[in-house]
């Protein structure tokens, strides 16, 4: 039995319900979206792709694409002015009639030393963004084929001219489909482009040297470097001494091939401000006297116009979409079997109170909201902080620690025991969220919010994947707003209930049915605990199960002990101290025994373990590859495995088409898997990828809710058995 939580979910809601919920929120995932990234052109030095912010385009719209160059360490490609040697990347477009492509929006270059010379270019991964305009008369249903021939020179110690052909077939539809992950990547690149300088520079001669006046440059900047677009202006490798002050001046060295054809120069100015790198596009008036000193007019081989970065229009939309997804995901979390009992009991508490005191109900609703918000912010802060420290974590990371999983199982058991009435928690002992008890205090309401979030973490709702993936790639403020939207969606039903007397009146009057229901709800909690203990068994093997059961035993014993030692102070003190010792001992035992990775790898059966090399090797052999990024603690993953992946029709189709099924199991921490998820713009599982049976071909990303038909169709596409199905409007 995999995941009792899953079993209950199907019992109560089923996948039809889930899909209904998807539609109800108006956020239907359209079929199987095509990955908006071309097949990669690969050499040992460069992996290049054409990335589109749209899966489908609308007539007349302008959208962003980018040529992505992923460079091997120490290799570089070139900026518009390549410096002392080299050649900039160029793209020639072959577009449908009426479509146009804008110029490359060049990122700020780096000065790459090749002593004693210098090159201007890019290392690592570089995105060269530009805009494509779809003709207004494009017909929905047509194919909008983006074809690009790109050439670039890539150098390390050796320089190699490379070229690549890229093709992206995007369907034309009445309304465009945004590829969230691709758009987020392109927007990030656009956000990092040099910004137009709010001032003009002035270039003049000073005793044979060229000096560039920079009035309006902020104070406190350092590490200035001017990259001219013209390659016949300055000696590129020469130092550029900078004098700060109220008249900031950068001193340049005249090029041996100095040539100035008009009294204006342009370029990019890079510097650091308060330690942060900045880049501005700069226009400067050149002293006309310099022109006379320049050589005769020869045709310019390079454009001298500065490219003003395109506005990141769409960036807001992306954020709003992420917020909407997060909010919807939060709402859906309420229905998770691990969460529902907690919230239902809270609601029943309201119902009881509502007959007496409505303002107290409202107050409790707000306190619950506070608990939810603060807990989400703490979790979000942890994800952001760990992420910024370079730790490869994602959402759900808290379940990668076996002791924490066991801790959650204990919490579930205790909630279950409490629901059954095995013990009562006084208002002084609030650690378990005493709001569960029908009497409910203020702190209890707040703790219920905390507890609800804690028990919700195993059940990542389907919409949360994309939103979380977006959030973790954004600046902390944006990431926190996404988590905030999630928290608000999550808290909405209970808060709404506390504020809407009409809704409360719909609840039956308190009575025996409440007791029965409360007791009944203990069982989903126990089921969740069983599932969590199973997760611990996957993570830590038999020792993990032992540790979990000992922890449960100790917790139960401690709670019982506190319950029976009521009365005098001495009795209570004795009971509390003994209970604390038992809990501490069990905690120590758990940490000692629940060691991640202790479980064997054998559970996958005929499913192979994932590795990027294995994918590449299988593709090279001409086999389509399905990769399931999953974790034992991911409820959506297990639901998908049950309703789609483990179905006989899917197994038959995979066998017939020769699909190799690889599993990337993220139950325990794995930086390679975290990296692969990040590359697809995700922060957590599930993620389903279908790699076509062609060497180096890019994977198709499947939706987070799998269906049997969808999986089989994707398998056929990957195997090249059917023509594209997504071309229809």
């Amino acid at each position: 039995m995999i995941g009792d939580c899953d079993g209950i979910m199907r019992l109560h809601f089923g996948k039809r319900f889930l899909r209904g919920a998807v539609l109800a929120f108006g956020l239907a995932i359209p079929g199987f979206a095509l990955a908006a990234e071309s097949a990669a052109v690969t050499s040992p030095r460069v992996t290049a792709t054409l990335l589109s912010s749209r899966d489908a385009v609308a007539p007349g719209e302008r959208f962003k694409v980018a040529l992505v160059q992923k460079l091997a360490p120490h290799w570089h490609t070139y900026w518009l002015n390549p410096g002392d040697s080299g050649e900039p990347t160029q793209i020639k477009w072959d577009l449908p009639a009426g479509a146009t492509a804008g110029d490359i929006q060049w990122p700020a270059p780096k000065a790459i030393r090749v002593e004693p010379l210098v090159n201007f270019g890019f290392e690592g991964t570089v995105l060269l963004p530009l805009e494509i305009t779809v003709p207004a008369d494009a017909k929905p249903g047509e194919n909008f084929a983006l074809k690009a021939e790109a050439t670039w020179l890539v150098c390390e110690k050796i320089c190699i001219p490379e070229e690549g052909s890229f093709t992206l077939d995007l369907p034309v539809a009445a309304a465009s489909t945004i590829d969230q992950a691709a758009e987020a990547r392109i927007d990030a690149a656009i956000a990092a482009l040099p910004k137009p300088a709010p001032f003009r520079g002035k270039l003049r001669d000073d005793a044979g040297k060229l000096v560039l006046d920079l009035p309006g440059l902020p104070a406190g900047v350092a590490d200035l470097r001017f990259f001219p677009i013209s390659d016949t202006l300055i000696e590129h490798a020469a130092d550029q001494p900078f004098v700060a002050g109220d008249k900031p001046v950068l001193t340049l060295t005249r090029s041996s091939a100095f040539k100035l054809e008009k009294p204006e120069i342009s370029g990019v100015l890079t510097f650091t401000e308060a330690g942060a790198p900045r880049a501005l596009t700069l226009l400067a008036d050149a002293d006309p006297a310099l022109m006379a000193a320049g050589a005769t007019a020869a045709p310019e081989t390079r454009p001298t116009v500065i490219r003003i970065p395109m506005p990141a229009e769409g960036a807001d939309l992306t954020l709003w979409a992420a917020l909407a997804f997060a909010f919807a995901g939060g709402l859906i979390l309420n229905l998770m079997p691990c969460v529902l009992p907690v919230l239902f009991i809270k609601a029943l508490g309201f119902a009881q109170l509502a007959h007496r005191n409505r303002s107290e109900v409202r107050e409790q609703g707000l306190l619950f909201l506070g608990g939810v918000l603060i807990t989400f912010m703490v979790l979000a802060g942890a994800v952001i902080a760990l992420g910024s420290l370079g730790s490869s974590v994602g959402w759900g990371f808290q379940l990668q620690s076996p002791p924490l999983v066991i801790g959650l199982a204990v919490v579930m058991i205790l909630i279950g025991l409490n629901l059954l009435g095995a013990f009562e928690i006084g208002t002084s002992v609030t650690g378990l969220g005493d709001g569960l008890a029908s009497r409910g205090g203020r702190l209890g309401a707040f703790m219920t919010g905390v507890l609800a979030v804690v028990v919700a973490t195993p059940c990542t709702a389907p919409f949360m994947g994309a939103a979380m993936g977006y959030a973790v790639t954004q600046p902390p403020a944006v990431a926190l707003s996404v988590f905030m939207a999630l928290a608000l969606g999550f808290a909405l039903p209970v808060v709404a209930l506390s504020f809407a007397p009409g809704l409360l009146r719909l609840l039956p009057k308190p009575g025996r049915w409440m007791l029965v229901l409360k007791q009944a709800f203990a069982f989903p909690m126990f089921a969740t605990a069983i599932w969590l203990i199973w997760v611990a068994s996957v993570q830590s093997g038999p020792q993990g199960v032992l540790a979990a059961l000992v922890a449960v035993l100790a917790a139960g014993f401690a709670v019982w002990l506190v319950g029976v030692t009521r009365g005098s102070f001495a009795r209570r003190a004795f009971g509390s101290v003994l209970a604390a010792l038992v809990v501490l001992g069990a905690g120590w035992f758990t940490v000692q025994n629940a060691i991640p990775g202790a479980a064997t790898e054998a559970r996958a059966g005929d499913i192979e373990a994932w590795s990027p090399e294995r994918v590449a090797a299988l593709q090279a052999q001409g086999k389509p590859v399905f990769v399931n990024f999953t974790a034992a603690w991911c409820i959506t993953c297990i639901a998908n495995e049950r309703v789609a992946l483990s179905r006989q029709e899917v197994k038959d189709a995979f066998a017939k088409l020769g699909v190799v099924y690889l599993k990337a199991d993220w139950t325990n921490r794995d930086s390679r898997i975290a990296k692969a998820l990040a590359e697809q713009g995700r922060a957590g599982v599930p993620l389903y990828l279908f790699y076509p049976a062609r060497r180096e071909a890019q994977a198709e990303i499947l939706p987070q809710l799998l269906t049997v038909d969808g999986l089989i169709a994707a398998a056929e596409r990957a195997a090249g058995r059917t023509t594209k199905t997504a071309a229809l409007p």
Partner: protein, 211 residues
């Protein structure tokens, strides 16, 4: 792409992490209109050659690296060889200079340099081996190819690119303007060189560390 990527070649980098002032090169380099920097280098025949021995003749210096795609563009199409032969007819002394230091790509010994000349049917008057990058440093050579023209009086008359198409694509040769032909023709006619200094393009010249 596949066929091109096989044409790998090395384009220059002195030993990584060498810290000497980059500006020193540019500022000490040759200047059009000024006397060309004197040099002394051993040629592939083992003979020491001096700039002074060519007094009264026009001299062309061609920085080269046989595996550089930009150099190959000019040799594979026989453009460079034809230019060398035409210049020889004009009585111009053509010296190819190879500056890659030992242990770096592009470094060749005399035998290999001669073999390359035969293989490519090239026609320089001489090939200078500059493994210590002394001549390159004196002239501030940046790329392969990088062209310098010294007039009969020993004045630097031209420095820069071989033509006006800064790309490694062979298709660019058609319609390209040869700065070298233009400068030599103008010198011969007794006119000032109209485009005496252009931006050289190509692969980076690899320098030996300053000893």
């Amino acid at each position: 792409m596949q066929s091109l990527t096989r044409q790998t070649f090395i384009a220059g980098l002195a030993l990584a992490g060498l810290a000497f002032p980059a500006a020193g090169l540019a500022q000490g380099a040759a200047k059009v209109g000024a006397p060309a920097p004197a040099f002394q280098a051993v040629d592939v025949e083992g003979k020491t050659r001096n700039l002074s021995e060519f007094a009264g003749k026009t001299v062309i210096l061609e920085w080269t690296n046989h595996d550089c795609p930009y150099v190959r563009k000019h040799y594979n199409s026989a453009t460079m060889q034809n230019l060398q032969k035409d210049m020889a007819k004009e009585g111009v002394v053509w010296l190819s200079v190879i500056s890659s230091p030992q242990g770096e790509q592009g470094h060749v010994d005399a035998a290999k340099a001669k073999e390359l000349t035969v293989q490519r049917n090239a026609a320089p008057a001489g090939i200078l081996l500059d493994p210590n990058s002394k001549v390159a440093r004196a002239y501030g050579a940046q790329t392969t190819p990088h062209m310098y023209i010294i007039d009969p009086k020993g004045t630097l008359a031209y420095m820069g690119a071989i033509d006006d198409k800064p790309t490694s694509s062979a298709a660019s040769l058609e319609g390209a303007k040869s700065y070298v032909r233009q400068a030599v023709a103008e010198l011969k006619a007794g006119k000032p060189v109209s485009e005496a200094s252009t931006k050289a393009y190509g692969c980076v010249v690899k320098y030996a560390p300053l000893s």
